[in-house]
Symmetry: C2
Subunit: 348 residues, 2 copies
């Protein structure tokens, strides 16, 4: 029934074989670089395949044990949370770059929560759909590493901490703790003593890591008025929290936002409340993007190369799929790009 819109028939190996005047197995040997055919024949087969525009059927190939030539990527965020987030598109773009070289497909899925995500992994595994997966947003007390271990599905955790309990998983991580330490250094040097960290989703490993580090750094310097508040990464919650903390009798002099969107919303809110940035309050965005240069004042930001992050993760996954060992690699520490939204703390 769908034949009527299938004018072109896909050539099969048999066609190539007939065309080159050899057996089907010879074609397989020739094109996969196996021994067993003369160079001359190999060439002839290659030309025949080329001419017919033949490409191996992914399904057939997989069925005879070659793997799915596909990796999976699940994004577990409620639909309304993934609005203006530059990070993921950039990450995916980097991932693609590496996968494309190897002609690996990327199976992509957006789900509501981690449970759904686990269900997707199970299904993909059972249906042989992917050779491995990329896991983002690792959490404290995350069910996914155990599951992936159990399934024996090669996986790279992006943004997690090194995890020796799951030796089968590779990890690609950024040193959030180090970055947070340097941020506190910087703000402290500028005289800031009351700092609020508008964090991302509670339960995410890097959120917790940043919060812990901030607390530790504050403790080390004897700062009592330093705190973290978790949000859902949205501009709305950012605005709400900003309004709340700036409304205090002794408002913070510095705000650290866990992404660029929240930082922009925060600056707008501060302006509404009559706070001038950076004169009254300094703002730092934990994620750099074009957004940070689209508002006045330009936002100081922690910059990391998300595209390269993606590339690294994809490279680790392909290595893993090829049977290589699991590894833990650290990408460069995000650097603080000082622009116009941070300055010396106001006295008082």
């Amino acid at each position: 029934m769908s034949d009527k819109r299938s004018p072109a028939r896909r050539p099969t190996m048999k066609d190539v074989a007939r065309h080159a005047g050899v057996s089907q197995s010879a074609v397989s040997f020739a094109l996969n670089g196996r021994p067993g055919v003369s160079e001359e024949t190999r060439d002839r087969v290659r030309r025949a395949a080329e001419q017919l525009g033949w490409r191996p059927s992914a399904a057939a190939r997989q069925l005879s044990g070659e793997g799915a030539a596909t990796v999976g990527f699940v994004l577990a965020r409620p639909a309304d949370t993934l609005g203006v987030d530059s990070f993921f598109l950039q990450l995916v773009s980097g991932i693609q770059e590496v996968l494309a070289e190897r002609h690996l497909g990327l199976l992509f899925q957006v789900v509501e929560d981690v449970d759904d995500e686990c269900a997707v992994y199970r299904r993909w595994w059972a249906e042989h759909r992917v050779d491995g997966v990329l896991v983002v947003d690792p959490r404290t007390d995350d069910p996914r590493p155990d599951l992936l271990d159990e399934l024996g599905l090669p996986a790279v955790v992006i943004g997690g901490a090194p995890d020796e309990r799951h030796p089968g998983l590779s990890t690609v991580w950024a040193d959030d703790a180090g970055a947070m330490a340097s941020v506190v250094d910087e703000l402290y040097a500028l005289g800031h003593r009351r700092i609020v960290h508008i964090a991302g989703l509670p339960g995410l490993a890097h959120t917790e890591r940043r919060i812990r580090t901030l607390r530790a750094e504050a403790g080390r310097r004897g700062l009592a008025e330093v705190e973290s508040v978790t949000t859902n990464y949205s501009d709305a919650e950012s605005a709400a929290v900003t309004r709340r903390v700036l409304g205090r009798s002794a408002p913070p002099t510095a705000l650290i936002y866990d992404n660029d969107v929240m930082a922009v919303a925060g600056v707008a809110t501060a302006a509404e409340l009559g706070f001038s940035v950076p004169a009254d309050v300094s703002v730092l965005a934990w994620e750099d993007s074009a957004l940070c240069r689209m508002v006045k004042p330009w936002l100081s930001a922690l910059s990391r190369d998300s595209v390269e992050f993606g590339r690294t993760a994809a490279r680790e996954l392909t290595a893993l799929v090829d049977g290589g060992p699991a590894r833990t690699v650290r990408v460069p520490v995000p650097r603080v790009i000082v622009r116009d939204s941070t300055g010396v703390a106001r006295r008082g």
Copy 2:
């Protein structure tokens, strides 16, 4: 070699058959709702499958003629262009919603240009990897519809104009022309006579459609100082163009930006140049998102439901894949959301 990390073996149909004490074909019949097995056996088989956690191998299924249970989505934008764009993530999110119901996978790829995109379609087709594709960013003089026709690959063009030259393709489109007409109406009524449209990529069908309509509407009203300027959708080009046109001796009193990112960058640039929005110049964003409420003044915007757009497209594609007829469906005309960035034109 990869066996050592494959502790769990995936159950096959044969396992289910053995477990239920029937033949393999009986299992197939039972689970696919075919006649040929008693209700009692069907139940027994179903339970066995359930218990073993069996799921059909996607590859095997496809090899026996069932299609790939996957649709493709290619995004042809240079990596640096897909920074802060809320549209695509929302679109994809809507697409996923519909595909997930049907247990269809989404194979996603980012490429540099349309030629690469065509190559991807050819490869997917030849490798039997997808049952259909979603095409975005249709162009004037687009090679893709012809190619997809030739390959007989079911496809839905998102955002194109109805196209009777390719009866095999479905089209889901928004009425850009109508929207532009209403925008001009609105601005004209506010007294604007000099209008600049900072458009998106030249060559994109909807860009050209908007430009043509703007020109026609201007002509109809005898407005000579109305023009469109194409860009690459980036904040940088938007800023450059904004600076240029506002620097004229008789600057425009209204600016229409083809996306939210450019509009935000435009407002920032206008502010830098000492133009107050909307007192000196009105700004309208052709795309609504959280961004529009993150800058001061809040941006008036053309709003459409991108998630629903994605859902509609995905529904059309599944229908097409199921052998249904190609259709052309129009989503609701984007509505103008008036916020604070548009106002009465300044006299002079």
